[in-house]
Every structure is written in C-alpha cells, then in structure tokens.
C-alpha cells in the first residue's frame, strides 16, 4: 500500500512539476512516468537500506535513460522529461537539515550535512553523465 502511494504521488508530483515549466499537456503524463520510474528505484533501494548516494545515482540514471527513450519516441527535447524526474532526487531534506543546524549554531553537524547534500548532487550529475555515455555508445554500436 505504501509503495503504491509512493508511485502515485511521485507520478503526480513529477507531472505537476512539468506543468510549472510549461511542458505541453500531451507530454505531462510521460514526464510523470519518467519521474515515477526514478522514484520507484530510489524508494526501493531506500527500503533495502542501500547507501543514499547509490540510490540517488541509480535513480538519476534510470530517469535519464527513460527520458532519452521518451525523447526519441515522442520527438521532443529530453529536458521536457528528465527535469521533472530529477527534481524529487534533489537532496532538499539534507540541505534543509544543514541549514537548520547553521541557524542553531551547530556548525559541525551543518558541515557534515552540507557535504552530504553536495555528494548527493554529484550522484545526480553522475547519473546524467553515465546515461549520456550509454546513449552515445549504444548509438555507435547501432550505426
């Protein structure tokens, strides 16, 4: 039940995010689906107690691969799909905790959390990079 709720909310949240960026109506559901795939992987790994950096990395990879496929199928720029899928992975919670600790003068904790947020952002970036590499080498093999 919880997993189903997570799927549903991630789909709706990603599609709603696409709407904020003026993604045309026809492409909102695919954008939501890309976000749902990423969140499914992130949530599943989180439940399995995987390292959050690993979970974020694989989720970002999944979002970008799904977005590449959608972009080719539906002939739209990839940005339309991957942006709304990447957003849920942004380490908002960790960044918030870091900032809260700054406000409370707990700088030691704040630095740790800020670094964690930085690492998680790096994981997102690396997922995007790797998907591009996979995409390019796949195209080379096919050509």
């Amino acid at each position: 039940m919880t997993a189903f709720v997570q799927l549903l909310t991630s789909f709706v949240a990603s599609a709603a995010f696409g709407l904020l960026f003026n993604v045309p109506r026809r492409h909102l559901a695919p954008a939501g689906a890309a976000g749902m795939i990423g969140w499914m992987i992130y949530y599943g790994l989180q439940q399995a107690d995987a390292n959050p950096v690993l979970a974020t990395w694989l989720a970002s990879l999944a979002v970008s691969l799904a977005s590449q496929w959608l972009a080719r199928r539906l002939k739209a720029p990839i940005t339309v799909y991957n942006v709304s899928g990447i957003v849920p992975l942004v380490p908002g919670g960790v960044a918030y905790a870091a900032m809260r600790n700054v406000v409370q003068n707990h700088y030691d904790l704040a630095v740790q959390q800020a670094f964690q947020a930085f690492t998680l952002s790096g994981a997102i970036a690396f997922g995007l990079v790797l998907s591009e590499v996979i995409h390019l080498s796949f195209r080379k093999i096919k050509a």
Binding site: T9, F17, N22, T79, V80, V83, V87, Y96
Partner: protein, 262 residues
Amino acid sequence: MPQSSEYTRRIAGLCLLAGKIMIENGAETYRVEDTMTRIARAYGLPRSHSFVTPTGIIFTIEGAEGEGADSFTSLSRITNRATDLQKVMEVNAISRRIGAGELSADDAYRLLKETESGGKGYPAWLKTAAAAVASGCFLIMFGGSWNDFVPAMAAGGAGYLALICASGRIAIKLFAEFVASFAVGLLACLFVLAGWGRELDSIVIGSVMPLVPGVLITNAVRDLMAGHFVSGLSKGAEALLTAFAIGAGIAIVLALRGGVAL
C-alpha cells in the same frame, strides 16, 4: 552559389532569433548551437560558428570566400531568462521544418516572432494549483504524514504564488525565490503554531520543492558534459545561488522563531 551579404545578414538574424528564444526559455547550450548551425546550413550557408552563453549569443556566418570580408558576425544580448519548455519545443519544431525545406526564410521569421511573443503558457492559477499538489505529494514522498498534506499544499501553493508575483515586480535576481521561501516558512510556522500542521520540517521541505531550479540543475550538468564550460559553470552558479536564496528565506523564519527545535 554566391550569396549576397544582405541575404547572409537576414539568415544570421533568423538564426539569432531562434537561438535567443531557446536560451531565454531554458534550452541546453548544445541544442541552441546545433539549431542555429542547422538553420544556417538549410539556407545554403554551411559555415557558421556560434558562441552561446546564458547571457549572450555571438554568431558568425562565413561568406562564400571563407574567412574574408564577406563574413558576417552579430551579437544578441540575453537579459531575461525563464523556463518555458513549450517555446523550446516550438523552435525545435520550426527548425526541423526548416531542415526539411518546408519553410522560406520569411515564413520562418514570422513563425519565430509568433513563438517569441506567444502566450505565457499555463495560467498562473493552474501553475499555483500544480505547485500546491506537487508540494503535498513531495511531503508524502519524503515520509511526511497525511495530517500535514493540506498544510503543505497551502504553504507550497502560496509560496509559488509569491514567486510569480515577486518575479514580476522585483528586478533583482534571486530575490523572488527568497521572498517565496520566506512565505513558505512563515506559513508553515503559523500552521504548526495553530495546531493545524504537525511536523514543521516535513511541511517546509515538501513546500519548498516547487521552487527548486530543476531546469538549471540538469542543464548545468549537460552543458558541462558537452564541454560548454562557460554556460555550464554560470548555470551551476545560478542554481547554487537560487538554492542559497531559498535556504536564506527559510533560515530567517527559523531564526525568528528563536532557532529552537520544537
């Protein structure tokens, strides 16, 4: 085929317009450069060079004799940047049609002008509603309880509305995000004080998500990957500063509350 310098000038203007619309509305740098080069090639000018950054585009078309007197360079300054993926898609579609030889230069120019002056996409109320729904959903995704769903929706929607209002009125970059996140924090605090919401942290994290500069983050990475370091670094800086602005708005609310954990 020898082209007159007047023709070259017109095509360069067309390419710059297409590039300007794309960069103003959140396209990646490589897509902008690719589109401009393709349009120039489709109109019989195979040798062109572009230098695209988030704050300006420089575009050169070489004439028939190579790098001689008949090459033409022009610059377009970019001052306003927003995110409107619909416009990026429209320019993309126009460029595809140009590539297929379906459009004359005049028709293409007219279509691009229409896209540039076109509507602002979805109405503000719909975007606010979407931000509200997204905030509630993010709250649940981040492990919040359903008790806080409606407060998160209200705070997130109000925050996004504040962003729309503030970005129209204040010319200073990033201040709108600051105002919006301040509104989110303030409302979340009030809801918790009034006993309407339970966990302040979850409500704030969920409601602040619609302000996250998602397009900037992904485009910064994609630009850096493609070797567009100037664009990538400046987009990354903009994303980081936006994140700081959001953080500062929340931090002030927390500090006003006395900085004590509930």
